[in-house]
């Protein structure tokens, strides 16, 4: 509207802030639910939501979710390393959790980087946005679908 008209007359430096006025509106959100078939471990369903059919390849989506699942499995893995960490923590009355970054937290950072990377390379160019599941309590992978305004601002 008025803001959009103003936007076109400003220089590049100012369009950044005014691009906010032109940013695509959210058309809907898709929630990828948890898959509990293997128990309480963090795992998401790989079923391709129908709302994304027009925007994304099924294979692309499945690969993203599968990689996320693998990363969460790595975070929650019961192995020698986690046992050692657990026993050491117990001996110190768990006070090392106050000073040390746990294995899980390290993997969460990795996951955040992966999601950012996926957003930049794959999802944003298609007008989609992946939300890190940790922001939603590891309940869902929220995918925001933006309206397809195919003007130049849709990078």
């Amino acid at each position: 509207m008025r803001a959009a008209a103003i936007g076109k007359t400003f220089t590049m430096a100012e369009t950044h802030s005014l691009q906010d006025l032109q940013q695509p509106a959210v058309s809907s959100k898709v929630f990828v639910q948890r898959d509990y078939s293997s128990g309480t471990i963090s795992k998401f369903q790989t079923k391709f939501p129908s709302e994304l059919e027009s925007r994304l390849d099924k294979q692309q989506f499945e690969e993203t979710i599968q990689t996320l699942n693998n990363l969460y499995a790595e975070a929650e893995k019961l192995g020698a390393e986690s046992y050692l960490e657990g026993c050491l923590a117990c001996l110190t009355a768990y006070t090392i959790f106050l000073c040390m970054e746990t294995h899980y937290e390290k993997v969460l950072k990795k996951i955040a980087r992966y999601i950012k990377d996926q957003n930049e390379k794959i999802y944003a160019p298609r007008g989609l946005l992946l939300t890190d599941p940790i922001e939603r309590g590891l309940r869902v992978v929220e995918i925001t679908i933006f309206e397809d305004r195919s003007i130049g601002s849709g990078r």
Binding site: R2, Q19, Q23, A25, E76, Y94, T102, Y104, E135
Partner: protein, 375 residues
């Protein structure tokens, strides 16, 4: 588009909700609309019945139960032990006694505080969009004019049918082993029980602290009991302190030992108190019902409960709420236009339950989720 995407990462928790936020301890929950400079942290708008201290680093249940009593009993009994029994026993037996006693005492107090002050595994409530999405999926069959019957969803976990219940407070289907604690008004993952003695729920994140606490407390009470008995047996004097210790220890040692034994059984079979009491997997409700979470191996069960990687806190207490400031670069006039243009996400996608639209957009700092590595 990347920057715009970040601006859209709105946390609908910023939207004013009907439930009043618990007032934080330091009482700085003034009207933030007038002070746009100070971003609020998420603990200040937390919907459950919890209290937060140290700017969200520490949390307790609203009702602290008898935690002061527990702490008091432990401190007083140990204090009496050090004052009345140790001098005698050091002289007549060995000086290791106060060292062992001191070590156990410190261990017990630390694990008790860890159990009480840690997030037990609270699940944050569903965002309005999620809740709307779930409602849409459910309401295909029923109408919304009356409170629908309890909603359940069945899933297959390791070939075992498990019913997931819908939580009306948190507006989501509870994950398996999650239960809603009415005292704390939170859904807690791997809910064991709400322990009044520690003044907190015991759940996924603090079960290992709880278990270590009761086991070390058993050792401590047994140790003090033994020492006091030895003291009274070897000495002719009967100090009032020793008598009091004897009484306290006698009554607590059996109950604590019993509790430790019970929880050891639970750990070895990967059960929670909640499941054990309800008899979820004991086969009462049908044949062939086994615990789908058990690894069928005592050692692996113990390791998975006590030594698994520490899960992070999902409620992100110290994360910042999206601020009320809009992008003020373009000036007031356009800024106002921006406020109405840039719709809050919840507003634009049909909010489920008549939420008021937040008056301004919400650019979120990219790292809004701070992984606080403490508790």
């Amino acid at each position: 588009l990347k920057n715009n995407c970040e601006y859209q990462q709105i946390d609908p928790q910023a939207l004013p909700t009907p439930t009043p936020a618990p007032p934080p301890h330091h009482g700085n929950d003034r009207d933030k609309r007038e002070e746009p400079k100070r971003p609020r942290r998420k603990w200040q708008v937390f919907p459950g019945k919890n209290r937060f201290y140290c700017d969200g680093r520490i949390m307790v249940a609203r009702q602290s139960g008898v935690l002061p009593l527990t702490l008091g009993l432990i401190v007083i009994t140990s204090g009496l032990f050090f004052i009345f029994d140790c001098p005698f026993l050091v002289k007549h037996l060995t000086s290791c006694i106060p060292v062992i006693g001191g070590g156990l005492f410190v261990f017990v107090v630390i694990t008790l505080l860890q159990t009480s002050l840690t997030d037990p595994g609270i699940l944050p409530r569903a965002t309005p969009d999620e809740a709307a999405d779930i409602e849409k999926q459910i309401d295909n069959t029923g109408n919304a004019s009356y409170r629908p019957p309890p909603r359940t969803k069945e899933v297959l976990i390791n070939q075992q049918v498990v019913k997931l219940k819908y939580c009306f407070s948190c507006k989501m289907f509870r994950p398996p082993r999650t239960s809603h604690c009415s005292l704390c008004d939170n859904c807690v993952e791997r809910f064991d029980h709400h322990c009044p003695w520690v003044g907190n729920c015991v759940g996924k994140r603090n079960y290992r602290f709880f278990y270590t606490f009761i086991v070390s407390l058993s050792f401590l009470t047994a140790f003090i009991f033994g020492c006091v008995t030895t003291h009274l047996a070897l000495s002719t004097k009967n100090t009032p302190g020793s008598n009091m210790e004897l009484v306290i220890c006698f009554f607590s040692v059996w109950s604590i030992l019993g509790l430790s034994g019970f929880h050891t059984y639970l750990v070895a079979s990967n059960l929670t108190t909640n499941e054990d009491i309800k008899g979820s997997w004991s086969g009462k409700s049908g044949e062939g019902v086994t615990n789908p979470y058990s690894h069928k191996n005592i050692f692996i069960n113990c390791c998975s409960v006590l030594c698994a990687p520490m899960p992070p806190s999902l409620i992100d207490r110290r994360g910042f709420l999206p601020t009320d400031e809009s992008v003020q670069t373009a000036g007031a006039g356009i800024g106002l236009a921006a406020k109405s243009e840039i719709n809050v996400v919840g507003g634009s996608s049909q909010p489920a339950s008549g939420l008021q639209e937040s008056p301004s957009p919400v650019p979120v700092p990219p790292h809004s989720h701070q992984n606080s590595s403490s508790v």
